[in-house]
Assembly symmetry: C2
Homo-oligomer: 266 residues x 2
Amino acid sequence: MNNTSAMDVRTSRRNLLGQATAAAAAISALSLSGCSESAKRPFAKKASGGLIADGDTILLQGDSITDAGRARGQENNPNDGRALGGGYAYLIAADLLCERADANLKIYNRGISGHKVFQLAERWDKDCIAIKPNLVSILIGVNDIWHKLNGQYNGTLEVYEKDYRALLERTKKELPGVKLVVCEPFVLRCGAVNEKWFPEFDGYRAAAKKVAGEFGAVFVPFQSAFDEAVKKAPPAHWAADGVHPTIAGAYLMARTWLAAVAGARA
Amino acid sequence: MNNTSAMDVRTSRRNLLGQATAAAAAISALSLSGCSESAKRPFAKKASGGLIADGDTILLQGDSITDAGRARGQENNPNDGRALGGGYAYLIAADLLCERADANLKIYNRGISGHKVFQLAERWDKDCIAIKPNLVSILIGVNDIWHKLNGQYNGTLEVYEKDYRALLERTKKELPGVKLVVCEPFVLRCGAVNEKWFPEFDGYRAAAKKVAGEFGAVFVPFQSAFDEAVKKAPPAHWAADGVHPTIAGAYLMARTWLAAVAGARA
């Protein structure tokens, strides 16, 4: 399942630069376009379910990038616009609920602003296991380094990797058959993100990719998607403070996630 | 410019039913997919700007369907996720700001819940003219009939048409060269929408299409998009109360709007 990452990097690049290949076109079509492309190409038709099966409960987890101001009061309602927040989780849900309207999907967002891996673990029973998701997607890591750089947190890269591994281990154990999606932490080079973050931040990205591989999770290559995007418009167009995506950034994330997850083989 | 409506109806149908034609594929690709399709097909490449030019200021106007809970405090900020609300306006903006990241677009939402055409007119100086939009998109009409059916408003279909004509007349006069988009009012047959609405509601849709034609506006055929959609999932999947779209409904609207506007010739 890991060989989707290289493919996805190429796909994401090609989608943005406008250089199509049949595969890229098929996968980009699956991202946020109508059904017509998938009906047109046998490859795309086979791939059209990807990791998401009819009837699936999908959970998006993480920090503020996932949270995106979601309404906590409605968090128990699946597919609720307010409960999905104003970021990539909302965009993913909107796409899936339209493009797969008859698939009876239930999509939840339990991202919480400011969280690091250990904080996910602390609430994992309520905010993951209890939901009984068929697919769990996690985007976590930027606060693990950011808060450390700010002196607010004494975790290290090793702690991040260890915590993440334990979280996925536990998830697999308590939800047999669960489909895992590990999203690459990313930053844009502007705002709060400065030279102090590097090269250390690259280690967090590598650690996320490593644990994804260990658990057979789909890896969503957000950093390379943004690295290509900044060739078209400056970093602040995608995330004004370098960390929190604009709506353009959120859209790019949703497209990248859908390509990786909808295009992935179960 | 009016011959896009018939094309759009066919396109919307094919996108949803998965039966592609080259034109449908090209236009669906323009809706919410990556750049790769437009680079692949000369037709699509030519059409890729559609009605939207680099540097355009785009204004989305209407009632609660457009409003979708937007944050009033940020309404003067273009491209602001909170100010764009949680509906089709947000989705359109996210697509455009990602797919046309280098186009320097500025997108505003000034929809207000509960409004009818005359209420748009009352605030048109502040909420349209002052923004100096290059492209104005209006979705209005459902309250003109709904409030009438509820006994809260004594306007008629004739008043709706007259008011709408006057509004577009004024817009063209005060914003020479403005590009107009008239969105078809629509309903789903569930929730608050019952037999009392028909056949009268069809008159409102026809009136919107008529004034669109009179002013050379792009007409966005939302009703037919939803008429096809309900073949895949019940009305409530698209708008629980028959009027206010779910996120699936909002996504379908955004895709339909982008096909009509991005595929339209300037």
